[in-house]
């Protein structure tokens, strides 16, 4: 048997996709909050936000941040689905199959990333309707790649927690505790340069800061850090959280 089993990865991915398209209410539920953020903040703050980087209006600044938010929320949910599978016993069906744990982690990640990116693209559509001007096709394609990196990073975090926690209420508590600081510190809504110095330091250890900045650069050309730096930090974070998540999942007990 091989460590990397494309057929099994495909099987796990396919299952996630069937579930995703079958549970439409869940999709609507996870798209709605970022959509409201985008719609209300984008229109309400349009005249007031004068200190965003010159040359872009607020909706152009905000939309990439909201895409980052969508990816963050959707990705941590992938960890939740591990807990659901444990609760409903399906995890055992997966774990007793002659498939390496690495393939299982990759299959789950592939499913979670696809779902997150689909949601990220969905949120871009009302953004364009509200006046977001996309720089070009290359930028759009690059931002798709960034979306994959961002969601994989947080799926790794979700997997890590889900592997070590048994109950769902505890998991959602920890995730909420983590999600909001990560979201607010990332500069998705406002430039991190506006934050007090102490808080700004925290912003720079938040992986989403680099993700949102890179998305901004690729989509509307309004990055405040060098794109290369963003990409490198993001890739590093993604590799690290995926490795930790995979390790903890591999060594977790099924029962």
């Amino acid at each position: 048997m091989i460590a990397f089993d494309p057929y099994a990865i495909y099987s796990l991915w396919l299952r996630e996709m069937i579930r995703f398209f079958r549970l439409k209410s869940r999709v609507v539920g996870s798209i709605a909050p970022p959509f409201f953020f985008l719609a209300f903040l984008g229109t309400g703050f349009s005249g007031m936000a004068s200190r965003v980087p010159a040359g872009v209006d607020y909706i152009n600044y905000l939309a990439p941040g909201i895409i980052g938010m969508t990816l963050l929320f959707s990705s941590t949910f992938a960890g939740m689905s591990v807990l659901w599978d444990r609760e409903f016993g399906f995890l055992r069906e997966i774990m007793v199959a002659p498939v390496t744990r690495l393939s299982i982690v990759l299959g789950r990640t592939a499913g979670g990333v696809t779902q997150a990116v689909i949601q990220g693209i969905i949120i871009l559509i009302p953004g364009i309707a509200m006046g977001v001007k996309i720089k070009g096709l290359t930028g759009l394609l690059l931002s798709l790649a960034l979306m994959v990196l961002i969601s994989a990073t947080f799926i790794g975090v979700g997997l890590a927690f889900a592997s070590r926690m048994k109950d769902m209420s505890g998991f959602s508590l920890i995730m909420n505790f983590m999600i909001f600081p990560v979201f607010l510190l990332s500069g998705a809504l406002f430039p991190v340069q506006n934050l007090p110095e102490v808080v700004r330091v925290l912003s720079y250890i938040d992986p989403l800061t680099y993700g949102v900045d890179a998305l901004r650069g690729c989509l509307v050309g309004a990055n405040s850090l060098p794109l290369m730096l963003d990409a490198m930090v993001l890739t590093g974070c993604c590799a690290a959280t995926m490795a930790i998540g995979a390790y903890l999942f591999e060594t977790s007990d099924v029962d």
């Binding site: 048997m1 089993d5 057929y7 099994a8 495909y10 099987s11 396919l14 299952r15 069937i18 579930r19 079958r22 549970l23 409903f88 016993g89 399906f90 055992r92 069906e93 997966i94 774990m95 007793v96 199959a97 002659p98 498939v99 390496t100 099924v254 029962d255």
Partner: protein
């Protein structure tokens, strides 16, 4: 390799508590092997170790010739498992659940399609193939899990309490499916149960387990014959002495115990001796009020080896479990 499963000194400890204690057993190829014992006896823990879900604390075991720790992946590819608790995806249809399973076991598309039709036919769920599992009843879900366990043509199929919580009729159907697949698919079956009738009806050989140890292992018939013969119980009004003399005159009466107006006779094939006993009593002028026959059961075997009744413990265990499920 002649055995489907072989264990040597298998031990599992949880925080100092010994769940499985020095278990040695071998399961022959092609047989239906039962692990019978009350809840908490260690049956499921043995199954979990043999299916690579748990590592043993000590000892060794081989499934289809593969070591359960060193060759986990090889073991996984030659076994099928039907877990005690539900393990299907309710948001997928029966066909999608089986399709997922087939892919995970590397079955190509055409074979998967053919095999799904076959196993659904076996458990009589062909007309429910495109129904979501969350709309299945408990019995249907169980049948689908059995079908899924068979789907990839395993050499050994493990069934952990396959009829737990099912009604009598569904239980009998499931026994039929298990027999049919054992015969038609030539699969070795290992089944855990705390239902005596199940072990008695279904298994070629049964290991009785208590406190993590095997206390007896043989065919149900051989186990029961160790207990001895049938018991014929007579309720007698009077004339006990005369009855004793008459009945001990028959060579087929092995023993005669009288107490409180009841007589217990040890007799082979007791049913067919009732007329002779009643007739003899009449001739001797002894009035018999009632006659009852007791054939040895695996329950008696359990009682003999452990000094406790399994039924009592099981009922209590089921109650606790039922309460916990709410």
């Amino acid at each position: 390799m002649e055995h489907a499963i072989e264990t040597r000194g298998l031990v599992k400890r949880f925080d100092g508590l010994v769940a499985v204690d020095d278990v040695n057993l071998s399961v022959k190829r092609g047989e239906i092997f039962g692990l019978l014992g009350p809840n908490g006896a260690g049956k499921s823990t043995i199954i979990k170790m043999l299916t690579t879900m748990l590592r043993p604390s000590a000892g060794e075991a081989y499934v289809w010739g593969h070591h359960i720790v060193r060759e986990r992946d090889a073991v996984r590819s030659c076994i099928g498992v039907v877990f005690q608790d539900p393990s299907v995806d309710g948001k997928l249809t029966a066909r999608e659940n089986l399709d997922f399973h087939g892919r995970m076991y590397g079955m190509p598309g055409a074979e998967r399609k053919r095999r799904i039709a076959e196993v659904l036919e076996l458990v009589e769920l062909s007309d429910k193939a495109d129904v979501l599992l969350e709309d299945f009843s408990g019995g249907m879900r169980r049948r689908l899990e059995i079908a899924r366990g068979l789907m990839h043509r395993p050499h050994v199929l493990f069934l952990d309490e396959p009829t737990l919580g099912l009604d009598t009729q569904t239980r009998r159907y499931i026994w039929d499916y298990i027999r049919a697949m054992n015969r038609e698919e030539d699969v070795t079956v290992v089944i855990t149960t705390h239902y005596m009738e199940e072990a008695d009806n279904l298994c070629n050989r049964v290991a009785i387990i208590d406190h993590g140890r095997i206390v007896a292992l043989d065919s149900p018939t051989a186990l029961k014959s160790m207990i001895g013969t049938d018991t014929l119980t007579l309720e007698v009004k009077d004339g006990m002495e005369r009855l004793r003399d008459v009945l001990l005159g028959f060579e087929w009466v092995r023993s005669f115990d009288a107490s409180n107006g009841y007589v217990n006779l040890s007799v082979d094939s007791a049913q067919s001796r009732i007329p002779e006993v009643v007739l003899a009593a009449c001739r001797a002028g002894v009035r018999i009020r009632s006659v009852s026959v007791h054939e040895p059961t695996l329950e008696d075997v359990f009682l003999r080896y452990t000094g406790r009744s399994m039924r009592d413990e099981t009922v209590k265990g089921d109650l606790v479990r039922a309460l916990m499920r709410r």
